[in-house]
Amino acid sequence: MLFAPFADSSLLGSVLPAMPFFSAYYPADAPDGSFGIGCHWHHHTPPNAILKVDSMMGRYLMQRLLLAIPTVFGVTVLIFVAMRVIPGDPLRSIIGEGQIYVLTDEELNAVKASLGYDKPLVIQYLVWMGDVAKGDLGYSFWQRDRSIADMVIRRGPITLQISIMSLLLAWLIGLPAGIVTAMWRNTPLDYVVRSLVTLLMAIPNFWLGLAMILVTILIWNWRPPMELVSLWESPWKNLQMTIGPAIAMGVGFGAIIARMIRSSMLEVLREDYVRTAYAKGLPSSTIIVRHALRNALLPTITLSGLYLGATLGGAVAVERAFSVPGLGYSLIYAVQARDWTVIQSLVLLFAVAYVIINLVVDIIYGFIDPRIRY
């Protein structure tokens, strides 16, 4: 029943008049009340189809979630094994911090036993999974006074915020740039925008971040805050902290979006139904925005999902350049220190996030393109 409103075009038309993505359902396009998307023209959906859509979607979701379980399980096994087989022992590193000292085998075994790492690998894995199921992500080898869950709760929001801000910024840059270069193809405007886009794609985001910081320091004697401040604590300081990384990350992805939309749009604009729409006398803006763009967006939405997953995993270099204590920075520090517990837990979280994001992307697909049925 969740999806029932979207099956009723008149209700959708009144609730979401401003959203071009869904305007294919808008009855105003065709005088007889029908509407079209792509090469399909659908009449008003009969009520008994609503229940059918619901059960199909529900089954699809269930299937995807079931499939996600072995995916996540596979990731946990891979990361667990990988941490144990790579050379070097983090316990030796911890004990040896600040002094050149080599643990004897007896000392190492004693430390392992105290942490439970003398048990067989399968037992260690099952204990870890059992703890995760209870919501206990454990403690870092290096900082045993704070749990990993606390770290994720504290740092996760800032990483998520930066990821989302950068994605929105990327769309703000990429979408108009892609449309402009598609519509005014091979004009000086197209060449200029494409050159800029290529430049933005080529520049590494961490370099851009460092350059931004350098400019602000040298010209305005200002640097973004380096202490974690949440949006609710101080929105202004939070914005100062997050806008820099968001720009550094967003412009690069925005350039990719622009290129992708341009090439998708060029393909779609050659389709027969677009020619038909022009022939019908629809305004160019209507054709581009309500028909062509909608189909051109599909690959970009997929890419956005992948991008969001990747940035949640940590824009490590950017976080380090801006000294933002996010999850990316935590992960790289954990890798350097071979902090197994942190690495395992964070990788598990990122895997789950990826699965959820991809599922959401697939569902969004279904709304954008009604040809896609589950």
């Binding site: 499939l67 399980f73 600040g98 085998d105 900082q143």
Partner: protein
């Protein structure tokens, strides 16, 4: 139903792969630790002093006679340095007069730490040293110059320099309210010198190696009996190194925690009390209102913010995010020093030099001629430039730092073989280096295994540059393995390397003797070079007990000559730090630091 079957069929191969992976992993992992017994045969080396007639040119005979005289006849009755009696009961304070109180001082630095135990290598630069006191300390208010009383109000030293008696402050309380007594000092040093199982005090124990025994005299008096008179003993008690910081811990806390302070933060007696730590973000301390020095601290608290990148620390100072840092980078430091109305700072020398490690236990570096060849032939100026560009500022150092009386100036050093920068000098040095290599049986060079840690100052940049010039100039080819810093100990002890670009060993005090005793003496624990020069050991024995400043300078010069003749590794540089702060930061003499300070800063005040 059909779709469920299909789904299961799709899942089976995936599950099989995962099970296979698990089996592979489990098969390679032992179920339980194995106990391996092995016989260890120890060799005991006895020192025998012999006189051997040698035919040498006349001028060299004179030189050798002088050296041997000093070596074979050490001073029998050294006069230890007595305490300046005007400093008895002295209380630390800032050197300025118009001190303002209040505010929270914000610092930038690396604040990550694996554990809390300063004796077991917890880094001092995190700021937690402000929670504690030592027996003696450097005078923070005068830029870390003089050694002054801390928890000890005074000390006496016996005429033979073998016994130090410390009178301790009364009325001092630990932050948990328990009273401080001599038992705490006894407990601290017994733990350092003879740690129980599971407590590792390797590097700090090296600094206190001269201690024979610590004796309790009464509630506020304690005695240290030394194996030999040690000129820098008082200094090392007040040392402020990166690691192995000799704070005093409370006996009651040590006893309650099995002598291990790693997991739980110990209370201190210091000017600040621990407030909060967010790992990877900051450590916050607040003023100890019951501090035994009634005048301190001047500020209400400290917030040490975790900023691992040096440039960011400097930038944080430039933009006012923090008040000061002990360690900016060269560019930001220069920018700050260009604005003397807003910032101040200095670049004091870091204690201890860091010779490149060479493995002298195996060919080719077991041959002194090869070691001399690399010290002569390689371009030290280039090496300095590379090191300075990627790490702290480096300067020429002929085995000792600029902080040591007797160090040579740059002008003096540049006249020496191996250091000359003029074309003719370089040609002559390279020619001599090649001659030595040929004499040692390597006329066309040789191949080595190099290891370097994963830092630019280690293997990633400096190591690569060094190996490249070694190949270009002397035909020394190499395979370089990059390792993580945490594995350095394993690698060094394992001995399967020829040169190592690793973290240098520092020194707790400016005087290099303690460091040399730990890394250059035959068979010393920290002697990963496997260097052994019995003549140098004898000179070291003399240095360890020589109190007279002028005689120490002579001995240090002889040591430098010996190390040039028979080098333990490749030596080129000392380092200096780049402390910097806003002009409003007072009480530390930031603009004129006498020593490189990683430690306390309780005399700081903010002049807003």
């Amino acid at each position: 139903m059909e779709s469920v079957r299909l789904m299961i069929l799709k899942l089976v191969p995936l599950m099989a792969l995962i099970v296979a992976l698990v089996l592979v992993a489990c098969s390679s992992a032992p179920a339980a630790p194995q106990v391996i017994e092995k016989e260890v045969i120890k060799e005991v080396i006895k020192e025998v002093v012999k006189e051997v007639p040698v035919e040498v040119p006349v001028d060299r005979v004179v030189e050798k006679v002088v050296i041997r005289e000093v070596l074979i006849q050490p001073k029998a009755t050294p006069e230890p340095i007595k305490m300046d009696l005007s400093k008895v009961g002295w209380l630390m304070k800032a050197s300025e007069s118009n001190i303002k109180r209040g505010g929270v001082v914000r610092t930038a630095g690396p604040v990550e730490m694996a554990h809390w135990d300063l004796h077991q290598g917890a880094p001092a630069y995190t700021g937690i040293t402000n929670i504690y006191n030592n027996l003696t300390y450097r005078n923070v208010g005068d830029g870390q110059r003089d050694i002054v009383p801390d928890l000890a109000t005074s000390w006496e030293v016996s005429n033979d320099g073998l016994a130090y008696i410390f009178t301790l402050r009364e009325g001092v309380k630990w932050h948990d309210g328990v009273e401080f007594t001599a038992l705490d000092v006894l407990g601290t040093f017994n733990r350092i010198l003879d740690p129980p199982e599971g407590v590792i005090t390797g590097s700090i124990r090296q600094s206190f190696e001269p201690i024979e025994e610590v004796r309790l005299l009464d509630t506020y008096k304690i005695a240290f009996d030394l194996k030999r008179p040690t000129p820098w003993f008082i200094n090392v008690l007040g040392a402020a190194p990166h690691f192995g910081y000799p704070v005093i811990y409370p006996k009651h806390f040590l006893d309650a925690n099995d002598q291990n302070v790693r997991e739980n933060l110990s209370p201190g007696t210091g000017a600040f009390v621990f407030k909060e730590r967010i790992p990877g973000e900051y450590i916050e301390l607040e003023a100890n209102i019951d501090y035994w020095n009634p005048d301190l601290p001047y500020v209400d608290g400290i917030k040490a913010i975790h900023i691992p990148v040096w440039a960011n620390r400097g930038a944080a100072v430039l933009t006012g995010i923090v008040d000061f840092t002990w360690n900016g980078n060269q560019e930001t430091w220069n920018l700050a020093m260009a604005q003397p109305d807003k910032f101040h700072g200095s670049n004091p020398p870091v204690n201890g030099t860091a010779p490149l490690w060479t493995n002298n236990s195996r060919a080719p570096f077991d041959d002194v001629r090869v070691r001399r060849a690399i010290n002569l032939g390689l371009d030290k100026k280039f090496d300095l430039e590379v090191a300075s560009a990627i790490a702290l500022p480096q300067y020429k150092a002929r085995w000792i730092t600029r902080a040591v009386p007797g160090h040579m100036t740059d002008e003096e050093i540049l006249t020496l073989p191996g250091w000359r920068e003029d074309e003719a000098g370089r040609k002559a040095d390279i020619a001599e280096a090649k001659r030595l290599m040929a004499e040692a049986g390597y006329p066309d060079g040789f191949h080595i295994k190099a290891v370097g840690n994963n830092t630019p100052a280690g293997g990633e940049v400096r190591g690569v540059a060094w190996l490249q010039q070694a190949e270009d100039i002397l035909g020394i080819t190499s395979d370089l393995e990059i390792i993580e810093r945490g594995l350095e100990g394993e690698i060094l002890v394992g001995g399967e390397w020829d040169v190592a670009f690793l973290t240098g060993t520092g020194s707790d005090v400016a005087d290099p003797t303690a460091q040399w005793n730990g890394i250059f003496r035959c068979g010393a624990d920290g002697n990963y070079y496997k260097y052994c020069n019995p003549e140098f050991d004898i000179l070291l024995d003399n240095l360890l007990v020589e109190f007279d400043a002028a005689e120490r300078v002579k001995l240090l010069r002889q040591a430098m000559d010996m190390l040039d003749e028979n080098p333990p590794g490749y030596m080129v540089n000392g380092q200096s730090g780049l402390p910097m702060g806003g002009i409003h930061v007072k009480g530390l003499r930031l603009e004129d630091l006498g020593g490189y300070p990683w430690g306390r800063y309780e005399t700081v005040w903010l002049d807003y």
